[in-house]
């Protein structure tokens, strides 16, 4: 197994500085971190990767068995850490990767120094008193929406996504391929993302955790961020003055500063 290739791992920044591992969420790839990386790489060693099925990961490594639960993704994170021999890692998980980070840290707490959960939600569906924000019908609608917008996707797209870093002439196409995923894989990832319930895993977190939420986020509302903060003992909650689900794009300086402050603190 070659996790470096499978997950298209990139390492940049200061070689001897603490390691910050950035995990992207559903819908995108490691490019999503592009605006926060310049700031963070001044102080940290940054490890970026694409989840299998996203970006320029090895699509051939994708299987429905491994990737219909978030555990499969968490295992990938641990394999990346093991293969690169990363220690005292500050693991930053955005969106669904926040729960992937929780699962990874619960499995091998000794591997991680800190967790940063960026716009996390442990459960997107409403359940009794819990307000995740969505109903099952909403999620089915999302799956339809994904499907309609992948209509133009074809097998012709696949070689571009699989990519060849040695061929600069496809760089433009790769740019265009950002956020593009094989529709069959995207569908499974969407289901896995929005139908998982990891509320019970929060209490098991022993790694020092910061919850970073946005002041207005349609996907992970503030009460959900509060819920995560309440369930993880000793966690800190930071509310970024940012709108939307991707503060690393809408408020990159603020997001980078919040990550750096927590990651750099003793």
């Amino acid at each position: 197994m070659d996790a470096r290739r499978r997950n298209n791992v990139t390492v940049i920044g200061c070689e001897d500085a603490p390691t910050v591992l950035l995990a992207h969420g559903f819908g995108c790839d490691q490019n999503l971190w592009r605006l926060v990386v310049p700031d963070l790489s001044k102080r940290f060693r940054i490890v970026l990767f694409d989840h299998v099925g996203s970006g320029r990961s090895d699509v051939a490594a994708w299987s429905p068995q491994r990737y219909t639960t978030l555990d499969g993704y968490a295992e990938d994170v641990l394999e990346i850490c093991a293969e690169l021999d990363l220690r005292d890692v500050v693991l930053v998980g955005h969106s669904v990767s926040a729960m992937i980070a929780v699962l990874a840290a619960n499995r091998e707490p000794e591997r991680f120094a800190k967790l940063v959960l960026l716009t996390p939600s442990p459960c997107y569906l409403d359940d009794g008193d819990y307000r995740g924000g969505f109903t099952r019908a909403d999620i089915d609608e999302l799956l339809d929406s994904l499907e309609s917008n992948y209509l133009g996707w074809s097998a012709a797209m696949a070689p571009v996504i699989a990519g060849n870093p040695d061929r600069p002439e496809v760089a433009g196409e790769l740019e265009a391929a950002f956020c593009r995923t094989d529709p069959a894989i995207a569908r499974v990832f969407a289901r896995t993302t929005f139908l998982s319930d990891n509320r019970a895993d929060l209490a098991d977190v022993t790694v020092r955790t910061a919850v970073l939420q946005c002041s207005s986020d349609a996907i992970a509302p503030r009460e959900v961020g509060q819920f995560v903060h309440d369930r993880i003992e000793g966690s800190v909650l930071v509310t970024l003055d940012a709108i939307g689900h991707c503060p690393q794009l809408s408020a990159p300086e603020q997001t980078a500063a919040a990550i750096a402050e927590f990651a750099g603190a003793r």
């Binding site: 969420g25 559903f26 819908g27 995108c28 490019n31 999503l32 592009r34 969106s95 969505f134 109903t135 909403d138 999620i139 089915d140 609608e141 999302l142 799956l143 339809d144 929406s145 994904l146 499907e147 309609s148 917008n149 209509l151 133009g152 740019e175 950002f178 956020c179 929005f194 207005s216 986020d217 349609a218 996907i219 709108i243 939307g244 689900h245 991707c246 794009l249 809408s250």
Partner: protein, 396 residues
């Protein structure tokens, strides 16, 4: 004429904006609606004052599309500064929905700061209905394809032994690589006990693919097994098959195959092997010291083509550490990376460089070789290997 034309050109920019045949919307970077044209307001059934400064673009979307907006649309727009042709729905004031195609660009100031998002919205009702049909047709086609693949793989399994039997003192291994998941391949192999401690085996390739080939494969396997039990000499087994295939030529497609039939008898610390070939690529033997040679069975004729087909027999001794490899032409006719066809001599030369001591290792090495050809392997490939265990190697 002149006057009408210039009157038309005086069409005011404002009228053009408000009553354009598409919806226009400008929002702040956080999505707050700052400007909207009359066309879009008409479509939505909202008053301007209800929306300006109060609602965000995403608020106009149903929840599923709102998630799509947050996870795909907005990030892509931020990254690229533009996004086009996204299929979404808008929720009208009365709760009904409208299918639209949306394109947005980010307007930046002279110093590059993003200022606002400009969005155009096209009514896509008819087009979306048509796309919906296309989508359904594609889903049906995918399901159909899955069924065909399941059928092909199930049929394929019935044509190959589920596992190879244990042969005392020997290591045996096989591999089958179908060129296509949609069709049953034409390659086959088997290994089975005869009386006493003798064993028979074969590997071959019938003409064609698919259902027609599966019929021939089934007949061929059955005939080879039955004939070997009655009269184990490999050449006479192939003769029986030749007769059976010739008798069966009643369809439009001629039915023939190539095959190597083998007989394995224990001899001293090794085994005696008798092989007969009918038009099949030569078997390869890899000696315990690493030397590889092709077993000359030239002159053996295609099976099922001629009434008096001749088959060529060879005999060899396998000693501890020796491996015999049978293969089909999917391997030796594969196109390598240089796009030239791999051939038998290439296979022999490659085998000479191998450091393997058993059938299992040999089959693993050849399957890796096949993988390295990637899409250069355009035919099915079957492998069957037998090796005599080294003394003291009692592994089951």
């Amino acid at each position: 004429m002149e006057t009408t034309f210039s009157a038309l050109l005086e069409d005011s920019a404002e009228d053009l904006y408000e009553n354009a045949p598409c919806g226009y919307l400008s929002t702040l970077m956080d999505g707050t609606i700052a400007k909207i044209n009359a066309t879009l307001l008409g479509w939505l059934g909202h008053e301007r004052a209800e929306l300006l400064g109060r609602r965000r673009f995403a608020d106009l979307l149903p929840v599923g599309d709102r998630i799509y907006h947050e996870t795909h649309f907005a990030p892509m727009l931020r990254m690229h500064g533009e996004i086009g042709g996204i299929a979404l729905e808008l929720v009208r004031a009365d709760g009904t929905r409208m299918a639209v195609l949306v394109s947005s660009t980010v307007k930046t100031s002279a110093n590059g700061t993003a200022q606002l998002i400009r969005t155009t919205i096209f009514d896509a009702g008819d087009r979306r209905a048509y796309e919906h049909e296309l989508l359904r047709a594609r889903q049906e086609a995918e399901q159909e394809r899955d069924r065909v693949q399941l059928l092909a793989s199930t049929l394929q399994r019935t044509l190959l032994p589920p596992s190879l039997p244990d042969v005392p003192g020997m290591d045996v291994a096989a591999y089958y690589h179908p060129a296509s998941a949609d069709e049953v391949g034409g390659d086959f192999y088997d290994l089975f006990p005869l009386t006493g401690d003798t064993w028979a085996f074969f590997l071959g390739d019938v003409s064609g693919k698919g259902a027609e080939a599966a019929v021939v494969t089934s007949l061929t396997r059955y005939t080879l097994r039955a004939a070997a039990v009655q009269e184990p000499g490999p050449a006479s087994v192939l003769k029986r098959l030749n007769t059976a295939l010739l008798k069966d030529q009643h369809g439009a497609t001629p039915r023939f195959c190539t095959a190597i039939q083998g007989l394995l008898e224990p001899a001293g610390d090794g085994a005696k092997v008798t092989l007969a070939s009918g038009g099949h690529p030569p078997a390869l033997v890899i000696r315990h010291n690493g030397a590889a040679e092709l077993l000359d069975t030239r002159g053996g004729q295609l099976i099922g083509a001629l009434p008096d087909a001749r088959f060529v027999e060879v005999e060899l001794r396998l000693r501890p550490g020796d491996t015999l490899l049978l293969y089909s032409d999917g391997l030796t006719e594969a196109r390598t990376h240089g796009r030239v066809r791999y051939d038998e001599e290439d296979l022999r030369d490659w085998a000479n460089t191998l450091d393997v001591g058993s059938a299992t290792e040999t089959v693993a090495a050849v399957s890796r070789l096949l993988d390295s050809f990637g899409d250069g392997v355009d035919d099915d490939t079957a492998l069957l290997a037998l090796s005599v265990r080294l003394l003291g190697d009692e592994r089951p």
